[in-house]
Symmetry: D3
Subunit: 143 residues, 6 copies
């Protein structure tokens, strides 16, 4: 039997999922068009309420049509934001997951490089603005 | 005389700029179509080589046409990445600056809210993936 | 001989510990009721003064009774804070270590999920408050 | 008329709130027992769906009884986690808000100091564990 | 009476300091050659044990001769590290404090710019290495 | 054939490098006195403009003489800053790389421990200053 210990807790397998967890696993696979439930969701399932809270929010923002919403942003832009945040935080699982999502949406390595180039640039300027304690420019009112 | 001490160093005024710094200030105003040099660049000008290094990189990535490049990303997407990084790092100067840039490019408050909603969501999932030490899913080869 | 290179420096083995380091290793095992010195302390031992400084502070705050102090916080709360900080910073060693400590103190996976759910939530709201540059509410004086 | 520009967007006033936003504002004040809606929620209200998503999750985790849940954690522990995350991220709005909540729940300055002492300690050990690339200790299975 | 509320707690004044706190305040002023106790230490004094723990560690590392130690690093290098960490974390109080310390040690604005240039550069490459999930190079053994 | 998939993209091999990328690879090896191009640069090469932008900046700041500049900082101080930033961000690749560079420049484990001790200390005080929202001390003008 393969080792299921892939985290600090034992992830819930699809076979062991019951009730609310089973329903959420099915919705995750259907909405994301996947054959298996990713490790992230199987780990969250150790607290079913938490699984539901995170999935509800992620579904609304990243799969708006499935959640009955319209979003002003397109799917590629949404995944670019996810990758920018994940690279800035240095979250390995998240970087892998959102890079894979962008590749699946058709992004090539040169465009991916452009996204990360801008992520790298602004991690630099953020440290500089904070390191010099630069005060915001006086800007005209915006609305 | 107004107080020019807006940072941990005294920013270089446009009037005092000489040589390389004066040329870079002119290029910044021309490229960004601004009437005055923002505080960030005036502070960097206390080390002229550094001013040049950061501006060269930012111009190439954020104003590619002015730098003789073509970018696979459009201006709104580039500023969205800048805001996502800045909000994740909590850099006040940078958040103000990139929000202003997005508003100037025509983004309304509801779309801005959608960008920050996704930024907020993935700062949450990043902490969860790291907090549970979730291992990356086994993914098929990508190229 | 097993490979001892588990870090950027070679950790000090218990067998090789001498003088101050040997005394500190003994105190760490006694205070934490452990059979072996964790890797973290063996690595710090490459600079004995540093080992002493960190252990003195950690012992005072996390094992107050052994340090002759009384703490207003109970052991579970103290470890919850440690995990919240470690998950927010994405520190793998620390997440593993403090999750193990919480499990040893009797915390089940559902309660662990509730801790991480709140950690995830506030990593999200932190990014939102910074991303919108929300000013603090005016609050009545506190003391 | 007082200046309402307290953020990068103009916060929604309680007077201007309509429909879903008005209902959520009322629920926030009732659940948190407040006389006025904090700035954070007024800013989120510029994107009503986002306001609803964040409030639903925060209400479930921080006010579980009002959301029809039971939580394995008590209110003080929940706010301690919020403060630990906020101090680690350096989010000014959030630090102010969660410190005020803890004071309201009866925490004195000495206990608050103990919370922050542990937050400070583990921000230190996190940087050390990462700075030395310490590998996790081999631990016995946990469940 | 001037407002003493400069933090989330009321800082301890030098006039009100008693016993251990008064002794520590005196040692801080003597060791750092200051006329007044900085706000940071006055705030920590609301939990006297914590004040002692942090000061003991900072004195040993930043004022080693006063603590009876020898350090392999000189005072300028030690403050440079403090500024690099503070700029990376975006901590306003700390950036101001350590920039002032470097200026007092004789560092000019151009050298300060070089320090921050390197801080900015590696905040950028860190995000890139994490954003691409680059694996460490195979290096020859080091000792 | 050995697996070349060491990142989220397939790194460019030295054998496959053409034109600008080949020239940059040669300059990296010559400037850094290396036998092989590190993984970081091979990954960046998937977007040749980005490789050039990052290398130009890193060469100017970390190898100033090769770039025709003079730096007010010595090589050890420059690498110490790089390690301080990388440890604070928890970037594994970067910590390994800059620790190796410091060891190559002759730094022993005890001095390395002193560097990381100060990094750890200020990650702690940063969280404390932010966690208490300490306001900057009033300082005399600096220049």
């Amino acid at each position: 039997m393969p080792d299921e210990r892939i985290a600090t807790v034992t992830p819930v397998t699809e076979r062991d999922a019951r009730g609310k967890v089973a329903d959420l696993f099915a919705d995750i696979k259907r909405t994301k068009n996947l054959d298996a439930v990713p490790n992230f969701w199987r780990v969250l399932a150790t607290n079913p309420d938490h699984l539901e809270l995170v999935w509800t929010r992620l579904k609304a923002l990243m799969h708006p049509e499935a959640a009955g919403r319209t979003s002003p942003l397109d799917p590629v832009t949404r995944e670019i934001i996810a990758l920018a945040v994940s690279a800035t935080n240095g979250c390995a699982y998240c970087v892998n997951s959102h890079t894979a999502a962008l590749r699946k949406l058709g992004m090539g390595v040169e465009a991916l490089g452009e996204v990360l180039a801008i992520v790298g640039l602004f991690n630099s300027t953020n440290a500089l603005a904070d390191g010099y304690q630069v005060r915001p420019d006086v800007l005209p009112p915006q609305d």
